[in-house]
Symmetry: C2
Subunit: 386 residues, 2 copies
């Protein structure tokens, strides 16, 4: 039982206070607050203080938190701009899939892991967690830059590619890959994203003014925005991509039409819920790699590979845009966050990964996620080029 009012208030209090205290401390030593909120999850989580274990309350609020985070970021982005960057972003995303997969798979194979485990490690290194990057970009006020828009577009494309890798990997692990299924999955996912990105803005441009003038409900425009958010998140999940891709597309479809008040009300919701997403990542910290020195070395090597492969893959592909933007994009694609954890969970629940490898993947996700925000801040503040 985690759902009495007192239990809920307790979880909310512990998570919120720890997130804000560690965030404040991080800001004071010039680290992004995001890092503090993730660390807060480790501190109050099962392996350190043990005050909070992941439970339905934390899961629901953390899922909602990342949905609203991406929705809010979408509200700041115009679809026309993103579409015009689509081709280049696609190239960057693809390059950021191939290199991480190859290096993760290669290192694991050389290390002597089974081929299924190696493939899962490769797949886990592919996933990009756009939530963390989006939060840092939004908090810094950098969503308006070209680099930010390419990161967001590439992250959406990366999610579709990651879905295909995961589908293929799950098939391989079961012994055979159904290429027709794979093609259908790809077609559905790509079709959904392209359709909403292309026609969403226009549809909302027609719908919203009518709603504004005709509905008798209080806050009817915000209500409509929320309905679009939930509907596209659900459709995205049904189409096989992450629910947060739908949330992002919902925000983007509304970005040119809704009034300022919808933005502010959304900020209220994200201010409440985002800490639950960030703390939730930390709550999944698993000290498995620390129990065994050889696993720890493997985890360390893979962390370096995870950072370098995305950095070189995405940065190299973006080099045409100039060194500064290439650097920003390269860094923005590093965090694996909750997406890496999801890949690991698929493998664990399918009996294809040992607890040690599961813990290793979670560890890599966490390290890359904590590393990215300070690097992003440096890249966007331009100190790296000073």
């Amino acid at each position: 039982m985690h759902d009495s009012p007192a239990d809920i208030a307790f979880s909310m209090l512990v998570i919120f206070v720890s997130a804000k205290v560690l965030s404040e401390i991080c800001e004071r030593v010039r680290l992004p607050g995001v890092v503090g909120e993730i660390l807060a999850g480790i501190v109050v989580g099962p392996y350190v203080l043990g005050w909070i274990t992941p439970n339905p309350v934390t899961t629901v609020l953390s899922e909602l938190g990342v949905m609203f985070l991406l929705f809010r970021v979408g509200l700041e982005v115009k679809s026309s701009e993103l579409i015009s960057l689509g081709g280049r972003a696609g190239f960057i995303a693809a390059s950021g899939v191939v290199l991480p997969f190859a290096s993760g798979w290669g290192i694991a194979t050389l290390w002597g892991l089974s081929s299924v485990e190696s493939i899962f490690i490769g797949a886990a290194l592919v996933a990009t967690s756009v939530g963390i990057t989006a939060q840092v970009l939004a908090a810094g006020g950098w969503l308006d830059t070209r680099a930010s828009k390419i990161i967001l577009a590439a992250a959406v494309i990366d999610d579709v590619l990651g879905l295909l890798v995961l589908a293929a990997v799950s098939g391989l692990a079961r012994g055979r890959v159904n290429y027709l299924d794979l093609a259908l999955t790809a077609g559905l996912a790509i079709g959904f994203v392209v359709f909403v990105a292309t026609f969403g803005t226009r549809a909302m441009g027609r719908l919203i003014p009518g709603v504004r003038s005709r509905m008798k409900l209080a806050e009817s425009e915000f209500a409509l925005a929320l309905i679009l958010l939930f509907a596209l998140s659900l459709l995205a999940a049904q189409a096989g991509v992450a629910a947060i891709v739908g949330a992002f597309l919902a925000g983007m479809a509304l970005s040119e039409t809704v009034e300022r008040r919808v933005h502010v009300l959304t900020e209220g919701v994200t201010a409440l819920l985002t800490p639950f997403f960030l703390v939730g990542i930390g709550l999944h910290f698993d000290p498995a790699p620390f129990r065994d020195s050889s696993t720890l070395i493997l985890a360390g090597v893979l962390c370096v590979a995870a950072v370098l492969s995305k950095f070189v893959g995405c940065g190299g592909a973006a080099l045409q845009l100039g060194r500064r933007d290439a650097m920003r994009i390269a860094v923005g694609m590093i965090p694996r966050g909750e997406v890496g954890v999801v890949v690991a969970q698929v493998g664990l629940s399918g009996g294809m990964l040992t607890a040690g490898i599961y813990g290793t993947i979670v560890f890599i996700s966490l390290v890359t996620t904590v590393l990215a925000p300070p690097l992003l801040r440096i890249a966007f503040r331009g100190r790296a080029n000073a």
Copy 2:
């Protein structure tokens, strides 16, 4: 499993869309939107369409919804004004406890129910759900009136009295009442409420300006407000009163200090979460009374008694304030809402109530809750005196 992103998005979508559609329909036929949102819960709930059954997602969001609703109402109320009305509100609340208890108990006893069941029915009629009334008052912009402030003060006192009735009733049902425990419970609950109401505003008046100037966090004032909300909700639950009483006191403690932005951000959260509270009440609709004509008659009689006893009890005690305010206050205390359901659940889980009596109490809660908003609207618009 109700916590995959797709499941969460599905629950959010169904609940939100049904709430807003029925709310819009109600507004168009001049009923308050609140009624539509409660009806939406019945419609999508287990006994009609069966799309949503109460689950951890709906429970968590509904608990948070009513917490934020009361917090938001508290933000509009000055503690000094409420305290000055305390004596009169106490008299009204006490009178609104005695008459409903006596009539519920009396009718049930005459009907031939056991003494434990009769006492539980009496206790269920005592509970006032301030959430519904607060939402109608806030939506109508009537929080500023004297009648609204007396209703809120009386509802807080009523909650303390209701706690004592429930504690005594549970004791009686177990065969004996521990008067020392009862006195301690009363002392703790009263002490908590009086202490926070008296010193909260002053404490926040000193704390907030310091936070505003010293913290490096984004939205630090909103973060502090949320922390106070969760902390006082938890303390209230620990002190034995409802968590929402703590939420209300937290809002009130901040009402004279926080900047406008905290109000707006809170409105964003309540716009998202309040429908989950209202739909959640409807989800608990239980058609038990309809299965058996004699239970249905009893339920009908008790509904009439529930409305009349609060109306006469509170209205009579408020008559000194003039007929218009007495009417407003009398109507504002009618809804039993989720509080009646809680009493019924205590009885059911303790094996002291049959499913039929449980269903009857839930039914009364629902009827009084749906009835109150239109009556409130009439009382506050002054049509009743036209």
